[in-house]
Amino acid sequence: MRQTLAQKIIARAAGRDHVTPGDVVTARVDLAMIHDSGGPRRVAPILQDLGVGLWDKDKIVLVADHFVPGDTEEGAAILAMTRDWARRTGVRFHDGLGICHVVLPESGQLRPGMFAVGGDSHSPTGGAMGAFMFGIGATEMAGVLATGEIWVKVPETILVEWTGRLGDGLMAKDIMLALCGRLGMDGGKYQAVEYTGEAIRALSMQERMTLSNMAAELGGQTGLVAPDDVTAAFLRSVGGSVPDLSDLHSDEGASVLEHHIFDATTLAPQVAAPHSPANAMPADAAGKTTISVAYVGACTGAKYEDLQAAARILKGRKLAAGVDLLVAPSSKRDQDRAEADGIMSIFEAVGAKILPNACGICAGYGTYRLGADVTCISSTARNFKGRMGEASSQVWLGSPLTVAAAAVAGHIIDPREMLA
């Protein structure tokens, strides 16, 4: 029977030969990730109520990222509670190393073919590694931590194929904003989105992570990229063991719900107007909107390659008068690499403010938030009203290249004008 990648992973986790979309099965979880916001403080009381311990502490990964650096009283208390729980339970804990969706793949713990859950809506990011990973709420997470099991309705697959290659000045982020614009924020229908085609194959692991990350904005349950040599090389580079990849792909002719085909060669850099990623348009259609804050941050938009892209624009240039550039590298590892490669010094040279390796303004939980009426361009995933600060703040989304170009120009601009 021909099966999609999603079906194969779920079938294995459910102990079956094959599963059919629409089947509701109980599956064994290979890995569960939680963070300081939705994790211990929400889950521990439920576990206590159930009167049980953890199913397998070695399969539970805890990351402190949302309230780091604990610069509010509430945040500091939540961090203290999180650290205490980590000590008592002995789960794998990444403290102050960066944002969960980036730290997890970097740790080598997430492998292709895994069936994994995360206590965060951007958990589909794990799909870039060829893992079926999705986000769940606190009640369900408590159930997983107690039993190691979860029920899942086998999703249909929505194939999103990009033919050709992305041109210079284009990034995975542009693909995702274009998709949000074309398919809408419910275009994923809570099914498995699978990215395929020459343009996707040509992307690095970090770029693929941006695709899978924003499967959340497309409304997919997960966002998969079938593992290949790029996946294997990445895994080796982070010290992870490479499983047999030969069957981890959708079979030729497996039935899918939808198959969309897009041409990567004609894509122009995209921005999304406030307050939805679905408000996507080419950057040069944004009427040179003036911005005063440029943010390179979040799991979506401040990984090593995102920093590298922004620095490529900024090198030898200056920020426009009245523009603040804020950079919050997604992980310590990525920041260290950027430091070693001279990328961080480019940010310093233009006077960018470097923020901690954490969710920062994207979560809007700390001291740094956007003030009233501020117009910001951001490399993050969502620009919902009031998410990053005051309700009157206006957030545009773009790729790290587009964000950096706007910081230099003082208004939204097609970054290719600065790459010539």
Partner: protein, 167 residues
């Protein structure tokens, strides 16, 4: 138990079910404003056993569990819809709210008296004498609903299975 049908349209989202401005106030306050925008009469007049019937994509939007919890709190017998948003469906089951897919809701009117047989998969319009067939819920999910949600379900399971998680 029979109840009254509240008939709603397509794309009832989680912001309508659990309005953002009451999210800080706990489930009592959220439930008191449930569906306020679409049906101002809903929260003030809904009775235990009443049934929500809706079109496509019920529960679209955010992952907030309170959207399902509010309906549970108001003791509706369940939600019957042409389709559900994925995360809402998950949350509803895990909070013990029966959610059933109807192939068609033709003939159902707002205010109809009805009985929801969640196990048998039937919406019985008592006055009209029409039995509307519903897609039966999978057995493993029915067990969670019958226990009253995931937490009570697990409590029961741990109480009868002192070996802890099954393998």
């Amino acid at each position: 138990m029979s109840g009254r049908i509240f008939l709603l349209g397509d794309d009832i989202d989680t912001d309508q079910l659990a309005p953002g401005q009451y999210m800080r106030g706990g489930i009592e306050a959220i439930a008191a404003h449930c569906l306020e925008a679409a049906r101002p009469d809903f929260a003030p007049s809904v009775q235990p056993g009443d049934i929500v019937v809706a079109g496509r994509n019920f529960g679209a939007g955010s992952s907030r569990e309170q959207a399902a919890e509010a309906l549970r709190h108001l003791q509706v017998a369940g939600v019957v819809a042409l389709s559900f948003a994925g995360i809402f469906y998950r949350n509803a089951v895990n909070l013990g709210l029966p959610v059933l897919i109807a192939p068609s809701i033709d003939g159902v009117l707002d205010g109809d008296l009805a009985t929801l047989d969640a196990d048998g998969g039937v919406l019985q319009l008592t006055v009209k004498g029409i039995a509307l067939p519903l897609d039966p819920m999978p057995e493993n999910l029915r067990a969670i609903i019958q226990a009253g949600g995931l937490v009570p379900y697990l409590k029961k399971r741990f109480a009868t299975d002192d070996k802890g998680p099954s393998q």
